[in-house]
């Protein structure tokens, strides 16, 4: 009697669809998945432990490097948690800036997701179209913070500085003649808000192009409908959040359920799915981009009308304005204390979560009253989603595993931390 064994393959960590460094041991019967075993930790950098060795304000840039496609949202969660512990008040303008950039980040993340999801399923053009739009939003990142990705723009107590009055323009180069320059700089003549408003006007058109290319495409539907279906009950049990939970038909959005910043003052809808399969999650995320676009427009309006401070004036916990440092004794002391010893955070613990593009991104901080966190736990949404991989992939085919990875929208910076 011959002995039949299943075919085991190593999917990753060097694999075009591994979304970074996912390693999966797949047990196949023919091409049908019998068991999928995700192995994580290849991008583990010990972020949580590193944070314990830094003063509170210094740990903020680590947040950018968690989910490295939705940088500012991570920062937002960290700031919320520390502000909760400190009990300081953030100026309203800073809150609007945060909400606006959170939604810019949501579009950035979802554009990357839909591009890579398309690429995984074989529609290679998507990624090039979405990266064209991402380029504009990256420029927004660069204009506010100076960095295209790891912005480190939010601060405990506000944001680093007010939005720039002038949008940086392309400089002449051997590759850009005067005519090209005129075209590429056309929407960069005004302030950052003008540029962003111009983007929000163009974006729905791009968005409908994506729908034309994918949504009703027969092959796209064959590849996504009914793949990786999760029932609403099971999605709750598995700890799903974000689009993964809403795709299964549960209306849960922290921006509505536990409004933070100024989400209770802006108007937007929360799309939910019906079947809980990859296609519904695709539709949910696509619609979220349009809703984010809507929120950005409202924030632009508000920010235009309401100038004001963007940083807390409680100089125990926020750096004083740089000009005053040179002339004001007290400011100099605050400045020195802030940038050397940092500030003491009252003893206690706080959990702050935000509706991150991928789900509920939470920071659970414990302070023992020192200038460094005693312990800081990061709740990464992707971790819970990836844990369901085996359940979602079982019984599907090898090609569907790639669809499911794409539909989970995993990023290893946050999963491995």
């Amino acid at each position: 009697m011959p002995e039949f064994r299943n075919f085991t393959i190593n999917f990753g960590p060097q694999h075009p669809a591994a979304h970074g460094v996912l390693r999966m041991i797949l047990e196949l019967d023919g091409e049908v998945i019998k068991h999928a075993d995700p192995h994580i930790g290849l991008l583990h950098r010990g972020t949580e432990k590193l944070i314990e060795t830094r003063v509170w304000a210094q740990s903020l840039p680590y947040m950018d490097r968690l989910d490295y496609v939705s940088m500012m949202c991570n920062e937002h969660a960290y700031c919320l948690a520390v502000e909760k512990l400190l009990g300081i008040k953030v100026p309203e303008r800073a809150l609007y800036i945060r909400v606006m950039l959170d939604e810019v980040t949501r579009i950035l993340n979802h554009l990357l997701w839909v591009g890579c999801h398309g690429l995984d399923v074989g529609a290679m053009s998507m990624v090039l179209y979405t990266f064209r739009e991402r380029e504009d939003l990256m420029d927004v990142y660069e204009a506010v913070s100076g960095a295209r990705m790891h912005a480190a723009y939010y601060r405990i107590g506000g944001v680093y500085r007010d939005l720039p009055d002038r949008m940086p323009q392309y400089a002449p180069s051997p590759w850009k003649n005067a005519a090209t320059l005129k075209v590429v700089n056309e929407n960069r003549q005004g302030s950052l808000l003008d540029f962003l408003e111009d983007f929000t006007e163009r974006f729905p058109k791009y968005h409908s192009d994506y729908h034309t290319l994918l949504t009703d495409n027969r092959i796209w539907k064959q590849r996504l409908v009914g793949i990786g279906t999760v029932s609403p009950e099971r999605a709750l049990q598995l700890g799903f959040t974000g689009a993964m939970l809403r795709g299964s038909g549960i209306e849960w959005d922290l921006r509505k359920k536990q409004p933070y910043a100024v989400y209770d003052q802006v108007d937007f809808d929360v799309p939910i799915g019906v079947n809980g399969d990859s296609y519904d999650r695709y539709l949910v995320r696509m619609e979220e981009m349009l809703q984010a676009n809507r929120i950005i427009r409202q924030c632009i309006d508000w920010l235009r009308k309401n100038p004001g401070p963007v940083m807390s004036d409680d100089y125990k916990f926020a750096p004083p304005p740089h000009e005053t440092v040179k002339s004001n004794m007290e400011a100099l002391i605050h400045h020195f204390k802030y940038f050397s010893e940092g500030f003491q955070v009252p003893e206690g613990e706080a959990y702050a979560a935000i509706e991150h593009p991928k789900g509920e991104f939470g920071i659970y901080a414990i302070s023992d009253g020192a200038n460094k966190p005693y312990r800081l736990k990061i709740r990464a949404p992707g971790f819970a989603h990836l844990a369901a991989m085996d359940e979602m992939a079982r019984g599907h085919m090898l090609a569907d595993v790639v669809t499911i990875i794409g539909s989970q929208d995993v990023v290893f910076g946050e999963i491995d931390r």
Binding site: L119, G122, L213, I219, R223, A399
Partner: protein
């Protein structure tokens, strides 16, 4: 000119060694076909990158030579100088033979492809049968490459390729049966000639007399099967890079890798040429009054090749079982039904192919 050289050769060699001249003359003709073909393959890769680049709002190659025109040459040179790495525990002999097995049939098929009334290397009677026989040999190259690499991804790719190519061969064969039914010949030149007459051709609208119109479903089935046969997107599961990395040629490097691509692009051109010959009237001019010329064939081939690239830029990849379902449950029944439809049509008083 061709006749002049032939006569010249026959006079010089003919008297002493008639068979030697035949060999030389055939070799000259082979080179005359293969050299432009390989050049066409090289520039098809350039064309593909430019067209897809245009569709994806980017430039495509534009650095090597004017407009990047030397890019294919640079790519070829680079691959020539690279080492061919043998994976450990690979079956070395098979590993080396596999790319040749993929490429040789793709070239051999060109022996019977006519370019106009006279220009054909071997004007044999059963040229369609020859094409079917030889082109299905190319699956061996893919399967053996996947097997000999000793890699699980390559193995999966080989399995997929074998199943897919064999399945689509059937649909393709059935589509061709109808073509030969209405042309009454297996010879490609005769098939083209059969398309040059008809009610529309007499009235100067020759392109409506070509086979594509009465056999429209088969035209589509044939071309889509051709795309599947060549493992091109959206049927590129055998090398689907996001699933099984590069499939059957994942462990190939250097020129051995390039030979697979040469084979793939040669087959693409072949499928496009055959589609033009069988369904688009080959070298016939689309309107009466225009001269028939091989350039029409080139134009039609380029038109069909454009579809290959267009598909690649727009469609997601099929899943393996969907490809099988499309082949067995849609294309094969469709072609079988169409064989009967055309058969009854031919027996009826409305037969247009008398």
């Amino acid at each position: 000119m061709e006749e002049t050289i032939a006569q010249f050769g026959t006079q010089w060699f003919g008297a002493a060694w008639p068979s030697l001249w035949l060999v030389i003359w055939t070799l000259v003709k082979i080179v005359a076909i293969v050299a432009p073909l390989l050049l066409a393959v090289a520039y098809l890769t350039y064309f593909e990158r430019k067209v897809i680049g245009f569709m994806q709002v980017r430039m495509g190659p534009n650095r090597v030579g004017p407009l990047g025109l030397l890019q294919p040459i640079a790519d070829g040179l680079k691959l020539l100088f690279k080492e061919i790495i043998f994976p450990s525990w690979a079956d070395k002999k098979v590993f080396v033979i596999a790319p040749m097995l993929a490429f040789a049939p793709a070239l051999a098929v060109w022996a019977v492809v006519p370019f106009n009334d006279a220009l054909v290397l071997a004007n044999i009677d059963a040229s369609l049968l020859y094409i079917l026989a030889i082109s299905s040999m190319s699956v061996y190259g893919v399967v053996l490459a996947g097997w000999s690499s000793n890699s699980k991804y390559a193995f999966l790719g080989a399995m997929r390729a074998a199943a897919q190519i064999v399945s689509y061969e059937i649909a393709m064969g059935f589509a061709l049966i109808v073509v030969l039914m209405i042309s009454g010949s297996l010879n490609l030149t005769d098939i083209v000639h059969a398309q040059q007459k008809g009610w529309f051709a007499d009235r100067g609208l020759a392109f409506l007399s070509w086979n594509w119109l009465p056999l429209l479903p088969l035209f589509v089935v044939y071309f889509v099967s051709g795309v599947a046969e060549t493992n091109r997107a959206p049927f590129d599961v055998a090398e689907g890079e996001s699933e099984i990395v590069a499939g059957f040629h994942v462990d190939y490097s250097g020129m051995a890798f390039a030979v697979f691509f040469l084979a793939e692009y040669t087959e693409m051109i072949l499928v496009a040429v055959l589609t033009s010959l069988l369904f688009l009237g080959g070298w016939s001019a689309p309107f009466g009054g225009l001269p028939d010329s091989a350039w029409w064939l080139v134009g039609k081939t380029c038109f069909m090749l454009f579809f290959f690239l267009w598909f690649r830029a727009t469609f997601p990849r099929y899943r393996y079982d969907h490809i099988m379902r499309l082949g067995w449950k849609v294309f094969i029944p469709l072609t079988v039904v169409w064989i009967f439809v055309v058969g009854i049509w031919m027996l009826s008083p409305w037969n247009i192919w008398k």
